[in-house]
Symmetry: C2
Subunit: 263 residues, 2 copies
Amino acid sequence: MRIFLLPPSYEGEQIVQIAGKEYHYLINVLRLKEGMKLTGRDGQGIYYTLTVSSIGPSKVLLTAEVQREGARETIDVFSAFRGPFPSVHLYQCVGKGKKLEQIIRQCTELGIASITPVMSRYTLSDVTKNWNVKSQRYRKVAEQAIQQSASPVMTQIEEPVRIQDIACRVADLSRLFVLHQSLESSRTTIFSHTRDLIEKDPTSPISLLVGPEGGFSDEEVSALIDSGARGVLLQTNILRTETAAVTASAIIIQFAIDMLSHT
Amino acid sequence: MRIFLLPPSYEGEQIVQIAGKEYHYLINVLRLKEGMKLTGRDGQGIYYTLTVSSIGPSKVLLTAEVQREGARETIDVFSAFRGPFPSVHLYQCVGKGKKLEQIIRQCTELGIASITPVMSRYTLSDVTKNWNVKSQRYRKVAEQAIQQSASPVMTQIEEPVRIQDIACRVADLSRLFVLHQSLESSRTTIFSHTRDLIEKDPTSPISLLVGPEGGFSDEEVSALIDSGARGVLLQTNILRTETAAVTASAIIIQFAIDMLSHT
């Protein structure tokens, strides 16, 4: 289901009036009609069943009723996939500027479990600088994406780590993919390795490490592979880091879901 | 291979001096060393074999030699996947603002054959307005992405079409995926349908239609399905149109490449 964010001024009233951009969204984009129901959430995190009671030329009136636990799945006009999602954690070496925000937004929509910024030898910016400010922004981006996409996965934005500390963070290193855009015959493809891991254990977490624009250093990759991580390959062009992150995340998550839904 | 764009001032000289941002890219990002070779291209589209002849603290000298046809694949220090890529064509209903640029950039990196903007009932902006200006920008974005990603696929940006004209543009409608984010049992998943199409015919084009933010109208989907197109489903959250486009394109292309490389 899609969750409608109630205006900040909303304080539990029975009738909510919506105008402006939100009106446009509800009427022209979602194309709600009178009598239709959807789920809303207020600033306190309380969920409401909203019923469209009347639609005018520039405003719409919704009737709000606090939702019982568990009621949400049955009332919404917008069906959505409810899982199960595999538990996939992204370790993302930090690129420049707005790239991390785009990665957070897109991977959250796709149902990634967590995103951890990683500092490696060739990362181009220091993500730990002003982390308190940045992390608030990143968590906001993730929260908005969870709401817009109606994701049942509460994507977490974790504190940054150094690449050499990943081995201590990932419980089972054989379930860590190191995405490496180079052609060595020893590397497996992302499909075959996802298939192996899901067949072996469909519920344990899978982790994915994506390099920065300038790639990993040879030492970084060797250290991880020696510790038990698996180098995996996308058979494709040289991708920018944000395209690599969303592509690899999408393939692992979607391929796992496809496998899980057939078992 | 990665192709280095020579400065606009370059006119075929044997020695090229590179400073500033491009210096940083070659030395700190690509980490070229003296004696290494890479492929360059000038404004006329002529390809050169570039050899790093000396590296200073702020500039690098490259020796340039016009490349023979077919030489490119053997000389580069940056290996890249050379295909075969399946022929996948994206029909993209147009979202707001910069979304189409992001879709063009990411799908071009992934090796999509062509991108055609589509106008449908609920598209939010008129892409045909100032198309002459917009198309130049879009083609530039695709060209840059081809170069950066070293894609062997020359992604085309086509003229916009109306959704009702797609049936006339796609030669074999049974190879058109209509991505529809809704749960009806009659729809197949993107993996199983990709597998079916590639097994049936690995080389004929596959087309993918992605809806706008507000979705397709029921009539639009029915008309296409009635004409022979296949509704396919991503079992996931409600994706924004740009995330849906890159995710579906990546899965079709990568799954097809994975299949083709095992046959």
